[in-house]
């Protein structure tokens, strides 16, 4: 009889040689010279178990430590929207595995709740940030009326329904990878990252659902996502849902010149920095470019000055005085609405917080204040919330009607996700507006062009 045991994120398959196993199972197994056993990835559990069953080979399955959760039922009624019902059907048809691509605000969490209610199995939800896992836990508790386990942000509690950050899951999967039948990967474009992928690879969960508004991935990461979660089973775009499930929106691009003194300073620092790049033929399009720049800046006598210039020119472009004035002007113009301000870095976020006396949410913010700031933003007692990156993805702030991107990276994904923060419909929200403030004549212009490479930004309006 073949025996399958879960061992620290892997499976030990014993009782048969590779030649005696069906081909589909054998190709998942490798001889481990360290222990003299046949070992497979935990994520290949379903493939191995199904291959053994199909071949009629008796199997003692000691890998899984989960059983059906027959008592799992909704305590809050749920009426799926048409696109959610379509997505669930597509995922079921694909064998209860696959990635669903839905725009932010279109109810990806609800889709996962529907899938959990259907499967009635212990479930682990992965999400990228502490704020998101808290939000997931709250939603699951509301719909299922049971306590939900949490891994991450100082919590270590595993229950039948558990929510974890990707990082905590990687750390814990060797201990808990056998406890869940269903794995939900929220913002699943994070999953294929070098170490994060282990969160799914070290879990035996046969049922898998990936959720993302931006699942497109470059290089080998798309293949990793297919391997660990399955194919993209449905894709719904923002345009399909705008004005129905999603709020109508505008994107306004504000190009603001630097103040003369800052412009002079910017040009001086920029010349020092770019001169260094040219002299040493450093090209940031090359993956090793940034490492070379850091290495040379650390090694060469003029390196400190060059690095200082690099930081200064970036700081001026990202948060010059003119931008600050424009930010204040927009905040005053939209007084009474809920405004999210996004920056590229914490220093600028805190500078805004100090100047305009607004709450700032970064990874330094303690959990009690995180909750307070988000609750205050939702109920209107804090109408403006400043953040660098922690609110980029997933966090549900439907009241947000105005987004102001003071600075950011050139990432299309980051920009689409930031837009997503203001697209959720809410009572009294007629139209959402995303402002992008760009320091004209600086490197920010090309950064802005790069990040707007998405269909959602076609309707750009200059302000």
């Amino acid at each position: 009889m073949v025996r399958i045991v879960f061992a620290a994120g892997t499976l030990i398959v014993s009782g048969a040689s590779p030649e005696e196993l069906p081909a589909a199972a054998a190709e998942c197994c490798r001889a481990d010279p360290r222990t003299g056993e046949l070992r497979a990835r935990a994520c290949d559990y379903a493939k191995i178990a199904l291959a053994l069953r199909a071949a009629g080979i008796p199997c003692s399955d000691e890998a899984r430590r989960f059983a059906p959760l027959e008592s799992l039922r909704l305590v809050e009624p749920l009426v799926p929207r048409p696109h959610q019902a379509r997505a669930l059907a597509a995922w079921k048809a694909a064998g209860f595995r696959g990635v669903v691509s839905l725009p932010t605000g279109s109810g990806k969490t609800i889709l996962a709740v529907m899938a959990m209610e259907y499967l009635k199995r212990p479930t682990l939800v992965l999400a990228p940030t502490i704020d998101l896992i808290a939000q997931w836990a709250e939603t699951l508790e509301r719909f299922f009326g049971i306590e939900v386990g949490l891994l991450g942000g100082g919590s270590h509690e595993v229950r039948d329904l558990t929510v974890s950050t990707y990082d905590s899951a990687v750390l814990n999967m060797e201990f808990i990878g056998d406890r869940f039948a269903f794995l939900v990967a929220d913002e699943c474009h994070h999953l294929p990252a070098a170490e994060s992928r282990l969160a799914a690879a070290m879990a035996i969960a046969p049922y898998r659902l990936g959720l993302s508004a931006t699942p497109e991935l470059p290089d080998d990461r798309a293949a990793v996502m297919r391997d660990l979660l399955g194919e993209t089973v449905i894709e719904v775009t923002i345009d399909e849902l705008e004005g129905k499930t999603l709020s109508p929106y505008l994107v306004r691009s504000c190009r603001i010149p630097l103040d003369p003194a800052e412009e002079e300073l910017y040009r001086r620092h920029r010349a020092v920095y770019t001169g260094f790049l040219k002299r040493h033929r450093i090209n940031f399009a090359d993956p090793s470019g940034w490492g070379r720049f850091l290495g040379l800046a650390a090694r060469l006598p003029e390196g400190r000055e060059v690095f200082h210039s690099f930081l200064e020119q970036r700081r001026l472009a990202r948060g010059g005085e003119a931008k600050m004035r424009k930010l204040w002007e927009l905040a005053a113009e939209h007084a009474g609405e809920r405004i999210l301000v996004f920056t590229a870095d914490n220093a600028t976020a805190y500078e805004i917080g100090r100047r305009f006396l607004w709450p700032v949410l970064t990874h330094h913010t303690g959990s009690a204040e995180r909750k307070e700031f988000l609750a205050g933003f939702r109920d209107g007692s804090y109408p403006v919330l400043v953040t660098s990156k922690v609110l980029n993805e997933g966090v549900d702030v439907p009241a947000a009607a105005v987004g102001i991107v003071l600075s950011g990276s050139g990432s299309v994904r980051e920009h689409v996700q930031r837009l997503g923060r203001i697209l959720r419909p809410a009572p009294g929200k007629a139209q959402a507006v995303l402002y992008e403030i760009i320091s004209s004549g600086t490197s920010e212009e090309s950064v802005s062009t790069r990040r707007r490479g998405h269909r959602a930004y076609r309707r750009k309006i200059r302000c």
Partner: protein, 418 residues
Amino acid sequence: MLTRELLSCRRRNGRWHPDFADPADPAALDTAARLLAIYGEAAAGALCRSEIAELAAGVPAGSGAKAKLRGGLLKILDDNGIFSSAGEVDYPLRRRMIFRAAAAALTHSGGDLGAYRAEVARETGFADLDALDPFGDLPEFERLRQLGRNFDAEGLLRHYNLVLLQSLMLYAENLLFELPELDAAHLRQLLRLMRFHRLLALAGRRKDGGVRLEVSGPFALFGATRKYALQLANFLPAVLTLPRWRLRARLKIGGADGELLLDESCGVSSGRRGLGTYVPEEIRSFGRAFRERARGAWEAVADAPLLPAGGDAFAVPDFSFRRAADGEVRHLELFHRWHRGELEARIAFLAAHPGFPLLLGVDRALADGAELEKLCASAPETAAHCFLFRDFPGVETVLKKLETPLARSGGGGNPKKD
């Protein structure tokens, strides 16, 4: 650990060459001494991180390896510092007052920032709002209370070398050790520590009687992963206590791939006297607490033996205890979530050897009371050997269990092998 930009390591001809500090180099000693003096003064004056950074800026940085050494030493001192939050101010309360007042002021400020801030100052009673930082409790404002570990300049440089090597291990996928003249006792210790760090090894004897040990994590079989890098880095000091060792590792740092080859001549040491003296912190703190609470009735035996546990298996107790009154020895082996197979094997062994002086501590994450009962069902007397704990056993629980009579005395000796 050092962050990537602080790693001082050059790559030449496909090999990595770490820039270890020379603990006898006057310039390096001077830098270390000056930084230690700054941290000493900072602890005495309870200075905050930004103030310490200002003082440290006065120590010349140089460039290249010198700059990285200075940065690395600062990182080590900062990591060893015990900081406390900034002063007596209740910052969350201050923020709440300011932000709530600001929310109200925003709606009727009419876009006048000066009027807006004046209104917030008036409403909160913080007259000097410009001088008051609502975010004064950020890490850069935390104050240094003391250094967790006392270094002299030479000791700090030696520790830097160890930390640099451990930090490089964070970029390794596996470690290959060649350990000449390694005796069985040391090998057992290494294997025990490897198990503690949840690592596996491909081990083989060398012709000279030494051992070749290729250490990696279970999942590493399926491809390159740095998941186990921290475990490898934490395991490394155990090897550095040996008189002779050779290390080979492939490191990929920032897209650059190369091999690291080192042996004991590099001068990096773990700072501990021998392998037997390397004890993980959890076990060390348990030992301390046990000494205090056992009050001499039981003492922890320094080096727990390997116990034959049926067939070719050995049990490696985590602790052994001797009763002062009669010299009776009992061993304790701990089973965590990932030890289910071993626990089952040990219960079967105890069922076959009643009274064997081995206690089994079982993490509740592995089995709860009912499940443990089920595991012991075929030989109920083995239940007397077992107890449950969460994460790590408490001293009181262990003391109570040590006093529990076992089914039949095994006389403290090892059973005959099956």
